[in-house]
Symmetry: C2
């Protein structure tokens, strides 16, 4: 009888956990510096809630939980829907509500490179403000996180669902009356969203399936693939939709705010950015970094002004961004952006024989009180075997305790990497180990 | 359409999260000082794994996940079974393996006071050592955690499953031959385990159901309810089972080790302690604290020398303890053992009007770089409304930015509680806020 982790899930060993904790703690500190507080919601929610506005692709990926009598449940697939439900349940919370959440989510999809069925997201959201300042602050905060983790040459791709809506309206008007097709904007957005994976030709095929005539299809593709600097692309958008189209004005405001947050040089206006989830209503954004292997975005998000009301709450404009932890950690490990230790244990307190066992424990307990992480032997091993064990774990120091050392109150501190020893008193050792 | 958290689950608001994080961080630091490293396993596992050795009561409480084609899955109900599976999968890991895990587990039971369907456990386990030192170190570490959190008058109830087995053997031999009953020790343990909740008379009824004759039932209850100091109770055990019975010797060794760890005065030998899970094989223990309301144990654990082998791994003796986070947090909040803030935000950077918006953001960004958690206005509110908002969140300081202040490079820092203001330069403010 041998059990494995189930399909699409995996274990994380101590050295991986040290990297993961470094990533999560760095992000947490920056989230908090931006004035976000955290809340925690349960791992599972009402299935009906989860499927309400997620879009059909995601709805299929929800892990469903069997219950006998009660309502159907599902594991959360993101952290935004639970937040919206939370705000619907807690209308008394002062607005804007700035919350962060760092937690696992689950999606039942075919596992593939970099896609697991359990993965962590780190989200910030600002609920209650309709100002583009909120959108830009979320982006700036995520940019700071990625920079702090060592990512370079960041690029923030920005778009607005209202602009995309505008483009769809333009081509809808141009479709000859004899062509009788009906389609929703979301269908078009889902097709455009695939451009990074399947290219322009792939999207063309997808749009053909929806039924768009060749001419309008070409027009749409031309509009969404305008390239250039933020201001230039924006000018093109203005020509198409007018200076006072809401989406255009919002993009302009975002750009202005991005100057105050010192991130305007990172912003790229990309009309082909669509994002996969159905609940977005306005600005949408993704952050990429230059890395060795080409990978997709490290963070993404957008504005969802209707979601909270749709789930039973008060009308509450909201925006947020989510950092994809698994991908961030993977790239950091590949690119050696963080040098992980094998263990957090600082020192192995070795005993030369069983006679000094009790004194050894007492010294270890003393070190622990000082916050120095240590282990003692629990296998009745010889001193040599104890040091071999400490070495196999990657513990950087060892202290050797024997009757002579206890009598003289001087102990050998061994640097396991440099293989050198120093004779020190316990107090000297403590201050040395605390400092290192 | 209004959704709630599902039965037996709840949300945690920012002020509760601050308490929870204080608890988890305190525990994590102490776990690490004792030389434990962390691993993470997935939220769900093979259902067959989860039910293999959990006992029927727990098996009923597993949340089952629907899957189409694949093996049946379930949410983990504790952190020990996944650890055992992890070790079975990773036989190369050096022993003893000291790991901690702080994470939610799920049990599908009827919600009642203090029992939720999602709850956090904080576990330490030492795998690979059969020494009672390992058991005592786990207890000492948990005791240090509870002390650091402010719990007083701790009591560690200790027993050994081998001793209980010995008692069952004694009475089995005494049952007259004409009484034909068959029962397993686990059935008896499960009955005894309820003594805290249903009392001696309740246990008597449970044992009657198993079929124990009155005389032997009385003998058993007499044995498990011996009271007195550790050494005295141990002497009674010796009389019943002999000086060299394994369980007795292990208890004696535990007591000796507890002196080195300075916790011998907390140890109470209680032969009625049985613990609910089927996988325990030797020492078992629970930690209680004196609190206002009577509540059960705050931590519990024991030795499970067969579990890892049973799940397909090498024979690996193992022991561990689990801190019940929900109960700990609940008691700390009731007893005011920790004064939680309402928010981690330190300062609200208010702007007198829209003209200084950009400069206000820049000052906030400067503070964030220094690690000072701050918010700015995103609602176009008047200064008064901004300060009211900051107050409603419980933010302790506000900085007021206006054209005059920017020109003179002196800003008002307002203590929101004391309602006093000081004029300071930005640098003065930063060093003051960092220090407070």
């Amino acid at each position: 009888m041998k059990f494995q982790t189930t399909k699409g899930t995996r274990d994380f060993l101590p050295d991986e956990m040290i990297t993961r904790e470094h990533v999560l703690q760095t992000i947490k500190n920056i989230f908090e510096s931006y004035g976000f507080d955290t809340i925690e919601t349960p791992a599972f929610e009402d299935l009906e809630l989860l499927t309400a506005k997620s879009g059909e692709d995601v709805a299929k990926q929800i892990f469903r939980i069997e219950t006998e009598k009660e309502r159907k449940l599902g594991l959360r697939f993101d952290l935004t829907v639970p937040l919206a439900r939370f705000l619907a349940n807690n209308p008394q919370i002062p607005k804007p509500f700035k919350r962060y959440a760092i937690a696992p989510v689950w999606r039942y999809e075919e596992p593939q490179a970099g896609r697991m069925r359990q993965f962590y997201q780190a989200d910030i959201d600002i609920c209650g403000s309709e100002s583009m300042e909120a959108d830009v602050e979320c982006i700036a905060c995520a940019v700071d996180c990625l920079k702090a983790l060592g990512f370079k040459n960041l690029k923030v791709r920005v778009n607005n669902r209202k602009v995309l809506e505008g483009f769809v309206e333009i081509i809808k008007k141009k479709i000859p009356e004899e062509v009788k097709i009906e389609f929703g904007s979301l269908e078009v957005f889902r097709a455009i969203d695939k451009i990074g994976r399947i290219g322009t030709d792939g999207v063309r095929e997808e749009l053909k399936k929806i039924g768009l005539p060749k001419k309008q299809l070409g027009d749409l593709l031309e509009m969404v693939t305008i390239k250039g600097k933020f201001k230039e692309v924006l000018e093109n958008g203005k020509k198409l939709l007018g200076n006072f189209a809401e989406g255009i004005m919002e993009l302009e405001q975002m750009y202005e705010f991005s100057k105050s947050y010192s991130i305007s040089d990172l912003l790229v206006l990309d009309f082909s950015l669509a994002r996969g989830l159905d609940y977005y209503t306005g600005s949408i954004f993704e952050i990429e970094a230059e890395t060795k292997k080409r990978v997709g975005s490290l963070a993404g998000g957008g504005r969802y002004d209707n979601l909270i009301e749709l789930l039973g709450g008060r009308a509450t404009p909201a925006t947020g961004i989510s950092l994809g932890i698994e991908r961030i950690v993977e790239i950091m490990r590949e690119g050696k952006l963080f040098e992980s230790q094998k263990t957090k244990v600082k020192v192995f307190v070795a005993n030369v024989d069983e006679r000094v066992k009790s004194e050894t424990i007492k010294i270890a307990q003393r070190l622990r009180k000082e916050g120095i992480a240590c282990q003692t032997d629990m296998m009745n091993r010889s001193l040599t075997k104890q040091l071999e064990f400490a070495d196999s774990l990657g513990i950087p120091y060892a202290i050797i305790i024997g009757p002579k050392e206890l009598k003289e109150k001087k102990f050998k501190l061994r640097d396991m990497n440099k293989k050198i020893e120093k004779e020190l008193t316990l107090e000297q050792m403590i201050s040395m180990l605390k400092g290192s």
